[in-house]
Amino acid sequence: MDEKTLIAKRVALELQDGFLVNLGIGLPTMVAAYLPNNLNVFFQSENGIIGMSALPEQGFALGDLTDAGGAFIGALPGACAFDSATSFGLIRGGHLDVTVLGGLQVDQSGQLANWMVPGKMVPGMGGAMDLVSGAKRVIVAMQHTAKGKSKIVQKCTLPLTSVRRVDLIVTDLAVLQPSEEGLILKETAPGVSIDQVKAATDCELIIPSNVPEMQITE
């Protein structure tokens, strides 16, 4: 199993029946493919739909039915469409149970930076700032390191997405839970030791006496 699949399968366990969920572009989108059986989750796409699904067949592509990346999608029975103010009212107004987003950096205080690298990459924040400010639960799904450098740092050096503390960080090495006191090591990935996680992390971690191995969906 590759690292991204592992992360997606772990995040999938965080979703509960009846949840309204928004998945970011890229790795977070993979979570939809690994939902536990019989789980009825509503996926929102912030361009204005609840009930999006994968495009059933290429021949069904419709220019007026797309996801936030502009890709063609399908719609499940019960789907509904709405304008952008309503879509972000759902996000900001506390109606969205979970958002899963990628990250560039998360720091010891649980703050996330994921929308720009000054001088290098300025894509714009899109919906990320509203999602982190407004969702009931924010899960960051990302690789623990990039180009040999830890993405878990003492203090974000990249511009913040929000000052809100995220709720959970799932990486290819560990599951971390931000708290008032710092990042708590909740789980380690299969075959990964606590020391390996510490070595790949650029800040102190709180290590409970019992750190179980990461569980994932089938």
């Binding site: 912030e46 039915l65 797309t66 304008d83 103010a85 972000f88 996000i91 900001r92 300025v122």
Partner: protein, 220 residues
């Protein structure tokens, strides 16, 4: 008087330097014939307020390619390398706005409000130069309303009076923008007799719509 105009005349009414709100999300729900005609007529120095600039040669991206845009207010340009290039080169002035804030700034412009208070962006670079207000212990940014000279709208259907409905995710910013501009130009996929769109289904009321773009003759 009929609101129907041919494409060329409707776009000719847009002067150089105009402020345009343009519907669409990565090209879905963008009025594509209006985009092509803006490029053909070579408008200059436009201000564009839109969620994104899609990709090069797609939707609003065509206005960027043709260098018609002097100023852009948008939430995301990550999918358009040409927009990023023009921004970094200083050719196009770009204001990046969180997507939900952009929607609410347009809505407040069209709904006669003095702006909105939002928690989005507090403590980030988005806060720079803005007023904050504390209400019941929570901090909000004051985000000002946006208005435009023209809104360019893509609709699923318009009736002869200009009542409009939308299709699925092609709705996005369109109904908000139709409220917030001096002149509203609607490019509908179909223009249908009055009554075909039931009152309960109308999203944008006809009084907001100034021009309807005649549909292409699909059998011609």
């Amino acid at each position: 008087m009929s609101k129907l105009r041919n494409l060329e005349d409707a776009v000719a009414a847009i002067p150089d330097g105009a402020v345009l709100m343009i519907g669409g999300f990565m090209g879905a729900g963008t009025p594509h014939r209006l985009m092509n005609e803006l490029v053909r007529q070579g408008k200059k120095g436009l201000t564009v307020i839109a969620n994104d600039t899609a990709r090069p040669n797609v939707g609003i991206g065509k206005l960027i390619d043709a260098k018609l845009v002097a100023r852009l207010v948008t939430s995301h340009i990550g999918t358009n390398s040409e927009t990023q290039r023009q921004m970094i080169a200083g050719e196009t002035q770009v204001e990046l706005v969180p997507q939900g804030t952009l929607a609410e700034r347009i809505r407040s412009g069209g709904f006669g409000l003095g702006g909105v208070l939002t928690p989005t962006g507090v403590g980030t670079t988005v806060e720079e130069g803005k007023q904050t207000i504390e209400i019941d212990g929570k901090t909000y940014l004051v985000e000002k309303p946006l208005k435009a000279d023209f809104a360019l709208i893509n609709a699923k259907r318009a009736d002869y009076y200009g009542n409009v409905d939308y299709a699925l995710t092609a709705r996005n910013f369109n109904p908000l923008m139709a409220m917030a501009a001096e002149t509203v130009i609607v490019e509908a996929v179909d223009i249908v007799p009055v009554g075909v769109i039931p009152p309960d289904v109308v999203v944008t009321p006809n009084v907001l719509v100034d021009y309807l773009i005649a549909t292409e003759n699909r059998h011609g």
